[in-house]
Symmetry: C2
Subunit: 256 residues, 2 copies
DNA sequence: ATCGATTTGTTCGTATGTATT
DNA sequence: CAATACATACGAACAAATCGA
């Protein structure tokens, strides 16, 4: 039941052609394009199909159309083409190594900023939701990971850095889609409980308003999770990070 | 000569409506939509307009169309809606504080990974380009910032983390667009030279294959740049980061 | 200020190719 | 094979916005 590949519809080909025109500098930012009728005849397609392609580029703000005047290459077309490529890579070319490594880079900082910027009420609410989810996971282990991602996304939101929060949201989504099953394969009760303890520990750090501790907990939390997957896959992706870890002085967690 | 706001074209309204349908759960992932004819008549628009809207959602992989079968809500529609929102926020709702803070979060790690993953040839090439750009900047100070961004983007590329590299690329683009002039306003010869020294220093750390040093240099480099802007704007955005800096032990740079 | 030319925005009718039954 | 349902694609037309004479 695998559907055929799209073999690139006409409008997709048109998009590529037009983006190439801009990237190659033949269509400079600010210049006015030929009219839709001219373009459609020169591309040898109907005006409707051309419009469908242009609508997508307009949506990315690579082109801008003004009724009665014409269509222009937008002033920041190149930046928006980068954005489009970024978006495409996020969907299609993201490896699990890249995704996990990105979490390791960003999420500890999210914990840091969440700790210094969230209100007491927000922390309490986060704790409540976590406790509720912990109860649920004892019933259905599968649900645990969904909630785990939720917890991480909420931390990112509390950081007040919308960009990074959105980025992490997309990263977590992508992990859910690509490797949800693989994640679950290597999970047992002990790991779940360790993960939950980390969450509890992190919240306590936030309550103490100790951002550096929160950052460290988040780092170790994600790192240990990656290590499990890493060992299972027997890859060497994070070997260097492991070396770094030895050089970090890790605080004593026994106080909790 | 300011053009009127679009007052949301028909297709834009349609996109919003359809995304709402999916986000609210009325259109579940995997379900088949009514045919284009039915939809266009129930939305009271022509088929072409409907198709223009659907093309955009198909492009985001929120919907998928199969000729002869129909259009479906894609299985990972919600994730892709997040991506779409992420993309919109990146374009429209990114503040300079968010952008700069994101650089401070990610770029030091990019320097870290670039140091352990780039080849000797790549480092040499980077150095050559930097030296060439340094000569140029002495002639036209304005060009300096473009080249500065280029340098930072190349470091990110060398990290081999495509996701973060793309992200940083978009961030840098956004900064160029939004605040290029403001950046330049507070720049004098001394700052440019300090910046150049940082770049040289960073490359030397990469050559020594000292990732932690590279990371620290990058952090301090971006931090000091932000501080300049920060002081000029007299905001308190990075107050907490300043406090943290006091707690970091900074290596002695005199060896260079 | 009106008119006409140009261009995008929108609609309708129709034909074709593809998959299901 | 035939009938059906649907997306894909084309062409002609009108509406609305804009600009210049």
């Amino acid at each position: 039941m695998i559907p055929k590949l799209n073999k690139s519809s006409l409008s997709n080909q048109l998009i590529k052609i037009m983006v190439d025109q801009i990237e190659s500098g033949k269509w400079q930012p600010g210049t006015k394009l030929p009219s839709e009728i001219e373009l459609s005849s020169s591309f040898n397609v109907s005006r409707n199909i051309l419009r469908e392609s242009m609508k997508i580029l307009v949506n990315f703000e690579i082109l801008t159309s003004k009724a009665g005047i014409g269509t222009f290459v937008s002033e920041n077309a190149i930046a928006n083409i980068h954005n489009m490529h970024f978006f495409e890579n996020l969907k299609n070319n993201s490896t699990i190594e890249n995704l996990l490594e990105t979490r390791l880079i960003i999420e500890p900082e999210m914990a840091y900023y969440a700790t210094i910027r969230s209100t007491d009420d927000e922390i309490n609410e986060l704790e409540l939701e976590m406790l509720n989810n912990n109860i649920k996971k004892h019933e259905i282990a599968n649900f645990f990971y969904t909630n785990d991602f939720d917890f991480h996304y909420k931390i990112a939101q509390l950081s007040r850095n919308i960009l990074c929060a959105n980025f992490i949201h997309s990263i977590l989504d992508e992990l859910k889609l690509n490797d949800y099953s693989k994640f679950n394969k290597y999970v047992d009760k002990n790991i779940i409980n360790e993960s939950l303890n980390n969450h509890t520990y992190l919240i306590s750090a936030m309550k103490k308003r100790d951002p550096l501790l929160a950052k460290e907990i988040m780092y170790n939390h994600i790192f240990s999770r990656i290590s499990i997957i890493n060992e299972s896959y027997n890859t060497d992706m994070l070997l260097s990070k492991k070396m770094e870890k030895k050089r970090l002085k890790v605080k004593d967690n026994s106080s909790i």
